[in-house]
């Protein structure tokens, strides 16, 4: 019984120990905290092209890992955010940026929602004004009022 327990303890120690070595292997070059902050900031701004609706930071695709490593090395060389983004845009195009830049081909993308909102607001304004006009019409003239009260009287008597 005692040896059995010992066995488990040893197994547990081995397991915990091996876990810690894995954790260390999994972070190449990630020693510089300043560089890591920059890598993190940039990878939240850049798109993983394999899984298109994820940022590099969210993605576990192999290409995303490679690109993060590439960014890490550029950051370690002291390149600015803008220089690193330019480097990637030159290779993968504007699509690699999660926030597309404002230029002639993306005007509709940036301003379209606001244009739709304006159009909707204008439509609402017109509709409300038309309704107001309908409401302002005199409710009943004298003749109609007498007819209504007559009908109501008949209703009461029956």
């Amino acid at each position: 019984m005692k040896s059995h327990l010992m066995y488990h303890l040893i197994a547990l120690c081995l397991f915990v120990h091996s876990g810690s070595t894995w954790a260390e292997e999994a972070r190449p070059l990630a020693t510089n905290a300043v560089v890591e902050v920059q890598v993190q900031r940039l990878s939240e701004e850049l798109r993983c092209l394999v899984c298109q609706n994820q940022t590099l930071a969210d993605s576990h695709a192999e290409l995303a890992q490679d690109l993060k490593q590439e960014i890490r090395e550029m950051a370690a060389k002291g390149m600015t955010d803008q220089a690193i983004i330019d480097y990637l845009v030159a290779r993968y195009g504007d699509f690699v940026r999660y926030r597309p830049p404002l230029k002639s081909t993306t005007v509709l993308l940036w301003l379209g929602p606001f244009a739709l909102l304006l159009a909707g607001g204008f439509g609402l304004f017109l509709t409300l004004r038309r309704r107001e006009k309908v409401a302002l019409e005199p409710p009943l003239n004298a003749d109609e009022a007498r007819k209504v009260s007559e009908l109501l009287e008949i209703d009461k008597e029956s």
């Binding site: 092209l49 394999v50 298109q52 490679d66 845009v89 290779r91 993968y92 195009g93 504007d94 699509f95």
Partner: protein
């Protein structure tokens, strides 16, 4: 009748946009490298690691640069197309094996046939990043001056070859 006109117009505009959207492939990201010089590199060849392949060796020729890998499923689809093309001798095809091992790559070519005059080994994917590779297979048409004239993302099909790549190659060769 007039009150239905505006909703109808809006409906038709939306239908127009959606119809256009049906024919767009979000996977096809336009490459900024088209009409730019192909990035330089020199990588060891698959058949002989002592020898290197560099796009510099290809100046003065129109050639196809095909990025492939033994782990890539769609590469299997385009392989027969490339084999056929290599037999015609119209245009030389060079390959780049992307993030792969020598052994797997060699086995793949031994089994499926080898359309490439030479294959460069990009084992860590660094050159791939320079070429903006994100979905293997990708194929570049490179002209005599070393400029990328066209990039095919995804497999080269008979249709793409006939309608786009071959006419372009003929035009570039005549230049």
């Amino acid at each position: 009748m007039k009150r239905f006109l505006l909703p109808l117009v809006i409906f038709l505009v939306v239908v127009g946009f959606l119809f256009k959207g049906l024919n767009l492939d979000p996977r096809e990201v336009p490459s900024p490298l088209v009409n730019k010089l192909a990035p330089m590199f020199s990588l060891p060849r698959l058949d002989n690691p002592e020898q290197v392949f560099s796009p510099k060796d290809m100046l003065g020729k129109v050639w196809l640069f095909n990025v492939w890998a033994s782990w890539c499923g769609a590469c299997r689809d385009e392989h027969p197309v490339l084999l056929e093309l290599s037999k015609t001798g119209i245009v030389p095809i060079y390959g780049m094996d992307y993030k792969d091992t020598r052994q797997d790559a060699q086995q793949w070519l031994d089994q499926g046939g080898n359309p490439y005059i030479a294959t460069a080994m990009d084992i860590d994917g660094r050159v791939g990043i320079n070429y903006g590779v994100y979905g293997v297979p990708e194929t570049y048409v490179i002209d005599k001056t070393g400029v990328i004239a066209y990039k095919q993302i995804g497999p080269v099909t008979d249709e793409v070859l006939r309608n786009k790549i071959l006419p372009l190659v003929k035009r570039l060769q005549a230049q």
